[in-house]
Subunit: 239 residues, 2 copies
Amino acid sequence: MTVKALTFDTGGTILDWHRGIGGAFAAAGAARGLKADWAAVANEYRRRSLKGIVNAERPAYNFDDVHRAKLDEVIAEFGLDALTAADRDAIWRTWHALDAWPDFPAAAARLRKRYVVASFTLLTTSLVVDVSKRNGIDWDVIISCEMIGIYKTRPEAYRTAAKWLALEPADIMMVACHNFDLDAARACGYQTAFVRRPDEWGPGGPPDPNPNPACTVVVDGFAQLADKLLSDGGYSVQG
Amino acid sequence: MTVKALTFDTGGTILDWHRGIGGAFAAAGAARGLKADWAAVANEYRRRSLKGIVNAERPAYNFDDVHRAKLDEVIAEFGLDALTAADRDAIWRTWHALDAWPDFPAAAARLRKRYVVASFTLLTTSLVVDVSKRNGIDWDVIISCEMIGIYKTRPEAYRTAAKWLALEPADIMMVACHNFDLDAARACGYQTAFVRRPDEWGPGGPPDPNPNPACTVVVDGFAQLADKLLSDGGYSVQG
């Protein structure tokens, strides 16, 4: 079988949320004379936000709403109550203005010449639109779990994405830097590509996970992914 | 208020379905020694297909399925039963390989520099992906009614598109060559742009409709739309 579409996890895999959100906290904190381990604050914020959306089924909220609610929780927990409503709004809006990892936009453009290149994400549709315009990323299609109403890692999310792409799951390769997303995609019949993102959680964050050996391919970055998937006339999977 | 996003009807407005589908019928018919008014066959096929999907609510089928089912109906009605299964498949697949009107791709690229440019369509997600790759069209986002589960012209379709774009309807301009779509969008608070497509139904088809004077703008083509919306720092609507 031959891979026809690549579905990219976007929040953790494409966007440098740690530096962006940590920086937004640090800037707001400095303006209010606050001191904190901003990298740790950002990571706790990310952990809680993920926990608030992964596996959701037809929630009344989307990931932007979760980001807003968890922000106040984390600010309270770290004793940062001096942050004003305007500060909080600025931190929250930073999610829509994150930088992508520098190796992604060019690799995506190369890959689009042979594959359907899709964002397949927990993030809101509008967040992906905003960061993609900012970073010069052109997708063939954005599939946000907001559209599906069922969030990764529930099987119905992966099955719906395949249906919308009009492809068998085996013709799709899920690309992510996390095993949990790739394992769930593989259980639905997707091929899987693990891309190492050792700095996802910053230098003080958890270590980069070891890729599950069941992955179809494991690469160190997006240029390597493109090299591998564009060699010898497209990527064919044995089996 | 200022328009921030443009949502383009795609099937009738961007794609030259009449020439593509009429040509596919003519080619298949010639191979089987059949004679017919292929332009009329294509138009009847389009009419029935639209009737089978507009206003659908959570159907078990999508527009590709409707195109497949209505194809057999139209073939029977016009006495073209000699068309084989392979002929029918070839005609059906032509929907995913249509040409865009030549003035669209360049105008879309210009408009993306200032606006979010979205396909907002009855067509399936994969159909838009396929024709966009073929015609060199890059969208910021594809919003297929297949994703929403509720089809234009039902208000919930327009409201959901606005929600996913994270915009008020008044910040969105629906672009189409049909009043029915624009009227429904306007009723939900969208701005509206009527683009004349006099050849949509071919020379023997129904005349190009007269734009509803309630439209925000009326233009003769996509280059004119881009000129108008990109002049004087973006399009601001009085009111």
